[in-house]
Symmetry: C3
Subunit: 205 residues, 3 copies
């Protein structure tokens, strides 16, 4: 369980930073930046907990998540002057958050004894939904529906998680392999423009 706590903290920090940079790209004021960091980092887990009935949701009972968001946002604000390319920073931290939160969401499903398919869905919701609210709030088209494989990455990682678990690997290496796979897969997908097959003929578009 201790490894899961660390994974949760890293995911929260990464998504906070991704959210802060997305908000800075839109030139929001400092408070707007913090709100966007907060919903990006805690939105996915909040939706998951609400859907499975874990209420009041965790960040209300334990202030540490909010504190991590605050510190990460401050870090993002401090480093903004030395960073040239917001978009790449956003992509990196978004990918890290994606990998770490998928694992957190899968474990929440396992703790409830839910079917692996539902666990993977919960992992995907945990990882993707914060970014969806962030993008809708900032009037961007949600990343999840853009061409680059996004939610697919979480599902792919989730399948690997359950295959490794089935094989009998201890839980910590399963978690690490799953999250590393997702982060790398996401970065490579964006770098090399991987796409899922569409049913449209190219000349059609």
């Amino acid at each position: 369980m201790e490894s899961l706590r660390i994974i949760d903290i890293v995911g929260t920090a990464a998504f906070s930073i991704a959210g802060a940079f997305a908000a800075m790209e839109k030139k929001l004021d400092v408070f707007g930046i913090f709100i966007i960091a907060f919903v990006t980092a805690l939105g996915g887990g909040t939706l998951r907990d609400t859907l499975i009935g874990e209420v009041p949701v965790k960040w209300m009972l334990d202030l540490s998540s909010g504190m991590i968001v605050l510190l990460s946002t401050i870090a993002a604000l401090l480093f903004t002057r030395v960073i040239k390319n917001y978009h790449n920073v956003l992509l990196l931290f978004d990918s890290i958050g994606l990998g770490f939160f998928t694992v957190v969401g899968i474990q929440a499903g396992i703790a409830l004894g839910l079917h692996p398919i539902v666990c993977i869905t919960l992992g995907t919701i945990t990882a993707c939904f914060g970014g969806v609210i962030r993008d809708i709030s900032l009037n961007n088209i949600p990343l999840i529906f853009e061409k680059d494989i996004y939610a697919t990455t979480c599902i792919f990682g989730g399948v690997i998680f359950f295959i490794l678990k089935k094989i009998g690997l201890p839980i910590m290496p399963v978690e690490v392999i799953c999250l590393v796979t997702i982060v790398l897969f996401r970065l490579l997908a964006v770098r090399y423009h991987w796409q899922l097959p569409t049913i449209w003929k190219p000349d059609n578009q």
Copy 2:
């Protein structure tokens, strides 16, 4: 209760197909099409169950809903090449889903002993919210706020439901008359451009 189960299945399939066609209109990849079908079909019921405290929500405990979405999406993908006019297909299945899910939502309210007005609201939420998330996700203006009578249709059907129930009709004909009314009313409303009164003078618009 058995009739309600069938109504739920037909509604789920119809909204999945409507969602899949809306996603195809926007040329999403196959996975995006499935996600949109899923949120269209299960979004309304998920919001309803969350608001009334039926958590973990049903599709997490029973995989059959997800399976219906999957099969319906595959059917939609297979038939896409023979279909000329996406918009009409979308409208037809959207109308069917609207009628069937209004009944499902009303029954969920009745099961909790809620007031008829709240039951009708729950029916309307169940029927309309999936389409609202679909439209917001695809950056369309939600159908519910367009000119064609949409949520009104569900409320109209709900009022008929409770009038027939009050009269003492058995539940199955009440359900069938309610859902047929909604489907027909919706199709006729679009066909003949029915509108609710607005408070704006025509020359004003």
Copy 3:
């Protein structure tokens, strides 16, 4: 507790009117106007109750909130012909709702024994979220992310609430001072274009 009930009623009425005017600005039909008034007035409290597990949410068990929305919407529709400037009316009632609902949300958190920071967050969610759904539904950029200090006002009022409570003031004056502060602060912030510091150089924008 009685004072809280009155505060809740005034806030519901104010947000219904603000929602109705925002919908009229977009020339929605009468039913769309009522739906927007409803989500504006009850959306924030619904999200709050869902997150803290107070389900079925209050407006399902007690029809009085819905009734207040209905009457307020009718009032807004009747007065629309004598009102020249929708935007100012919307701003006034939006500010009143903001102040009153912040207090309602804070008290909901206190009743659960949550930390003051979380109570203030709940107050802010209660006050701001209805307007966020309203703005997203109407395809407006949510007010909360525009330049004028919005959520900040709720937080500022919330901090004052807990300072006065700490000092030992009885709860009713604490509530009244908090809500009056928020309403005035909001109106002054818009009137004098108060802004939070941004990290962008002016020549940059």
